[in-house]
């Protein structure tokens, strides 16, 4: 007699099982990034205090991903919505989750000003160097020479500028009490640690926290698994340096 072994998929405790499998394409980076975020929330034991906000674009597919109170907002507007939530309820731990279009194009004024004001929220930008949900258009982060639907001959920095360096920009305009880092889906252990530090920074009431996570979009990149990983690990990191840009010193007694 054969005994069927059912393997429970391993997922963070704060993920909502009823809404799994999640809605992202196979190979998409969002699932991994949100798993790292979920692990960080679990390890800090803050699930019941988190208010999770997601943007428009593929990030919106996370609106029911967590067993956390969640708000799906408009394109680029997750940062001000979570700012509003946090200002009215400082005891909540607010996470604004968006793509690179939401963070660096349509919502850039919100990111710049929330960072300048040192809002005590965590903003996460998943950077997959193009617009996923709308079908692969050029984003502020598209690499020079990279072909997209709106840069079919390759991005020309002469006419469309260079890729936006989000964490570098945020680090330049925030005080020392901010936490700023760039992680990658290719190193989830490190990314989880970054999320933990970023969330701890908010819990401690220090200031703004910002993590960009390098992500993948094999659907629009039209890449197989090997090419996808190669692009995330080798090509993207040539331009987007992974690491912490700003980490407030631990307070006494921590």
């Amino acid at each position: 007699m054969t005994v069927a072994t059912v393997l429970e998929p391993k997922m963070p405790k704060c993920w909502r099982q009823e809404t799994k499998p999640h809605k992202f394409c196979p190979g998409c980076g969002h699932g991994d990034i949100l798993k790292a975020l979920g692990t960080a929330i679990d390890e800090l034991g803050i699930q019941d205090r988190v208010v999770f906000g997601c943007d428009i674009g593929c990030s919106l597919l996370s609106w029911d991903l967590f067993n956390c109170d969640s708000i799906q907002t408009h394109h680029g507007r997750t940062t001000p919505v979570m700012t509003g939530v946090k200002r009215a309820r400082p005891d909540r731990i607010c996470i604004a989750y968006m793509g690179d279009g939401g963070g660096y194009a349509i919502g850039s004024q919100h990111l710049v000003n929330a960072a300048s004001r040192n809002e005590k929220i965590l903003v996460i930008v998943a950077n997959n160097v193009q617009y996923g949900m709308t079908g692969g258009q050029m984003a502020p982060t598209t690499l020079p020479g990279m072909k997209t639907e709106t840069s079919p001959y390759g991005r020309d920095p002469e006419s469309t500028g260079n890729p936006t360096l989000g964490p570098e920009m945020v680090a330049a305009i925030t005080p020392d009490s901010a936490y700023v880092a760039r992680g990658t889906m290719a190193n989830l252990r490190q990314l989880t640690q970054m999320f933990k530090k970023a969330l701890q920074n908010q819990i401690d009431g220090n200031g703004f926290s910002f993590v960009e996570a390098l992500s993948a979009c094999p659907t629009n990149w039209r890449t197989n698994a090997a090419k996808t990983w190669e692009f995330v690990e080798k090509e993207m990191t040539k331009y987007f340096k992974v690491g912490e840009l700003k980490a407030p010193a631990k307070k006494e007694g921590q």
């Binding site: 699930q47 956390c68 969640s70 507007r77 001000p80 919505v81 200002r87 009215a88 309820r89």
Partner: protein, 361 residues
């Protein structure tokens, strides 16, 4: 707890913007989010002076888009929140207002209309009627009070918070630059002293208990996958709005019973119309006056019999027919002749109305 900002009642002489700030304070508002634009600036100026003394807060955002969305966020946290804007700021804020419509966010918006289109003037108009009532990609599921005096600015600002939180539709106080900047006498009061109970607020997110264990998580969204799914959602919104409408619709009339000419207007233009009706009556002309106080929902049922009975109608407004569109929509099928005074971005005097009515009879 800090002392009540207004004890009992007080007779004051102040600008409309100051009145709005005091009304928000009296209504127990927790947070104002705002961005500078004339002619609403002094609402922020007075709020920022008064609020800290009563443990209330303020955030000056980077633009009106952000002011609208931070207000939505604050409301979803369960706090009484509002913002104020005008003209191009109202344009930018439409995006947040449409999210408030879709997600039933009880946010309050004070609009002090200025000239349009574009930058235009910072002074006065009634040109934000269409945008405030029906702006953005939506169905106009909003409550809009068009005020005509400082007393109404005070009364309806307080009322807006209660209507918003009772029915959970975004609620608007539609004033204008004249009301904003002019000084006049007003009685400000503690709502409780008048028997007005502020409707309780409650959080939509950040609820107590462990989500997924003690309760389901609040998963609030405005995105839907199929036409049918969206249709059901919007139908429910419309049903809720239509159920609410008869409970909150407001209008006022003057001398309509035997009127040959009924003047239709809203907001501050009503003051010229009231004066015109008095003068016309004194001159033996049977003039009357109908004024919707809520532009959304509109007092269609009250207006139709009056309009049907009148010999002629005169629509008067400081825009090129934005209010007239609402009126003619409500009066579809009636044949009462109608004339208009459209003065986009310009104030209207009682004399102009008197002369026009005399020319009509």
């Amino acid at each position: 707890m800090a002392d009540k900002p207004i004890q009992g009642e007080k007779r004051m002489f102040m600008t409309g913007n100051e009145v709005c700030a005091y009304a928000a304070l009296a209504a127990n508002v927790d947070v104002m989010y705002g961005y500078p634009i004339t002619p609403q600036n002094e609402i922020m100026h007075y709020w920022t002076r008064l609020a800290p003394k009563h443990n209330r807060t303020f955030l000056q955002t980077e633009d009106e888009i952000s002011a609208g969305f931070t207000t939505c966020g604050g409301v979803m946290s369960g706090k009484r929140c509002f913002t104020a804007t005008a003209g191009p700021g109202n344009t930018l804020m439409q995006e947040a207002m449409s999210m408030a419509e879709m997600m039933r966010i009880p946010a309050v918006f004070i609009i002090q209309q200025r000239g349009g289109p574009s930058t235009a003037t910072v002074i006065y108009s009634q040109q934000e009627v269409t945008m405030t009532c029906f702006g953005a990609n939506g169905e106009g599921l909003r409550v809009v009070y068009s005020t005509s005096s400082h007393q109404e600015l005070f009364d309806y600002t307080i009322k807006s918070f209660n209507v918003a939180w009772k029915y959970r539709f975004p609620t608007f106080v539609l004033g204008d630059g004249y009301q904003a900047k002019m000084r006049e006498s007003v009685t400000i009061y503690d709502p409780e002293a008048r028997g007005i109970q502020m409707v309780d607020t409650y959080p939509l997110v950040g609820l107590p208990g462990m989500p997924g264990v003690d309760r389901d998580p609040a998963h609030l969204r405005n995105t839907y996958n199929t036409e049918e799914e969206l249709y059901e959602v919007v139908k429910d919104l419309v049903d809720a709005y239509e159920k609410m409408a008869p409970e909150i619709v407001e209008h006022s009339t003057m001398e309509c019973d035997d009127a040959d000419v009924v003047i239709l207007c809203h907001g501050i233009v009503s003051r010229a119309a009231i004066e015109a009706v008095r003068n016309l009556r004194a001159a033996g002309v049977k003039a009357g006056f109908f004024r919707p106080i809520t532009l959304r929902p509109f007092a269609k049922d009250a207006l139709r019999p009056i309009a049907e009975k009148a010999k002629k109608l005169l629509i008067v407004e400081s825009s090129q027919g934005q209010f007239a569109k609402i009126v003619t929509d409500a009066l579809y099928g009636l044949t009462t002749p109608m004339e208009t005074i459209f003065k986009p971005g310009l104030g209207i005097t009682s004399d102009e109305i008197v002369n026009k009515v005399k020319a009509m009879i």
